[in-house]
């Protein structure tokens, strides 16, 4: 195997895409180090996203959909800014209205542009619960709209 072939085979092995027909790669596929490596990559990613996207992580965990959003994201960037954006977009794509509101809100907080975010309920009620890591209460349907801007004191307000 050339160096390039070896490295592609290792990449595909770790990503779970394929096990190349090569004695070393086959040996590596049986190594406990493969699972440790995969879990370390995932654990590190979860840790960084939990720090960077705190609100969306909290709502996804509250809804039991964190792993789904993580697994669906298509991004391998080492930079947390790119990783966070991909994670939030993945959360939005899950199709849950409240998760999408929280993720859109967090995306707006990260950006420089002034943004409108629609909510199916009172955002203050949701944000307070998420920031305190408390269980989500029953939320009645009460559409709200927030305006997010870097130039605004407090960064957002309900409009």
């Amino acid at each position: 195997m050339s160096l390039a072939e070896h490295q592609r085979a290792m990449r595909d092995l770790i990503a779970g895409r394929a096990i190349a027909n090569d004695p070393y790669i086959e040996q590596a596929s049986r190594a406990i180090g493969l699972e440790v490596t995969r879990d370390t990559i995932r654990g590190w990613r979860v840790f960084r996203l939990s720090q960077s996207c705190r609100l969306t992580t909290a709502i996804l965990r509250a809804r039991g959909r964190f792993d789904e959003a993580l697994d669906a994201m298509q991004c391998s960037s080492p930079f947390i800014e790119e990783l966070s954006r991909a994670f939030l977009e993945s959360a939005i794509a899950l199709g849950d209205e409240l998760i999408a509101s929280v993720a859109n809100f967090e995306l707006a907080l990260m950006g420089d542009e002034e943004t409108i975010v629609d909510w199916p309920c009172d955002p203050y009620e949701v944000l307070a619960v998420l920031l305190r890591d408390e269980p989500l209460p029953e939320l009645g349907h009460a559409p709200h709209r927030t305006f997010v801007s870097r130039s605004m004191p407090g960064r957002f307000r309900v409009v």
Partner: protein, 277 residues
């Protein structure tokens, strides 16, 4: 006189106040301090200012993670752009990287792997070391990395591969004692065989750290203060590394809080005691 030092990931006033006064060398990882602004990967101006202030009392070194010097396709040019920025803004004493690859065909692996120690890999790595040496008029060092997979083998032993890079390029080495402990624990080598074969005269910097055992494997997460065994190994190795200029204790940024800055400061005091004999 061997200096003692620590890595620093920026924007931590308590760390600056409590730990850095004890460090004669401060190691900066470009990847860890970079951010994306307007779609570009940059070192924020405020971070450069902070590093300039630190450089008044300590020597700064650059220690990269994302160069991917052993990638068959290409080194990471955006990483080199970060080094360009740091080199042009700060007085950097030397810089270093890991002898591994983090990207394949531009795709980030999320981890660092060791290349097989073949003549093909050796020629590629040596040519890149020379490119880096030409690009920056600073000493360049390479660090062996931990391998969690079976030994990929090749035409050289692990130490012999490092020696040959040194012989062909004149670069220096970082001897990471914790990485060596990991490889020994994971049954990839013995410390005596590795250290007896390695060109210890090429070692310019020594790293110490601590991590965890996961499913029987020792992994290099740099999450704890060093074990007594690691410091004992440092004590044994120092007389054999006459050109080592610094001993760096490494801890990843996210573990600074849980460990506590006082414990990290004490760690630097412990290292200094060993270094001063």
């Amino acid at each position: 006189m061997i200096a003692t030092g620590i890595n620093y990931e920026g924007r931590d006033p308590r760390f600056v106040e409590t730990v850095l006064p004890l460090a004669e060398v401060v190691e900066v990882t470009p990847d860890a301090i970079a951010t994306i602004r307007d779609g570009r990967i940059v070192i924020p101006g405020e971070t450069l200012e902070e590093l300039r202030a630190i450089a008044r009392d300590a020597r700064l070194t650059i220690h990269g993670v994302g160069l991917s010097i052993a990638s068959a396709d290409a080194m990471n040019e955006s990483y080199l752009a970060l080094v360009d920025e740091l080199m042009s803004s700060l007085d950097v004493a030397w810089h270093s990287e890991h002898l591994g690859y983090t990207t394949v065909d531009g795709e980030n692996l999320g981890t660092m792997l060791v290349p097989p120690r073949t003549e093909e890999a050796l020629a590629l790595i040596c040519s890149r070391v020379e490119t880096i040496q030409r690009r920056y008029a600073k000493p360049f060092l390479l660090e062996h990395v931990v391998n969690l997979f079976p030994d990929p083998g090749g035409d050289f032993t692990a130490a012999g591969f490092l020696n040959e890079i040194v012989r062909r390029t004149g670069c220096g080495l970082i001897l990471d004692l914790y990485n060596l402990e990991c490889d020994v624990h994971n049954e990839l080598c013995t410390s005596s065989a590795f250290l007896d074969e390695l060109d210890l005269g090429a070692v310019r910097e020594i790293h110490i750290a601590n991590g965890t055992i996961d499913r029987g494997l020792r992994v290099d997460v740099h999450s704890r203060v060093t074990r007594d065994e690691t410091l004992a190994m440092l004590r044994d190795v120092l007389p054999r590394t006459p050109n080592a200029g610094a001993v760096i204790f490494e801890m990843l940024g996210p573990y600074v809080g849980p460990t506590g800055v006082e414990a990290i400061a004490n760690e630097l005091r412990r290292v200094r005691e060993v270094v001063q004999g």
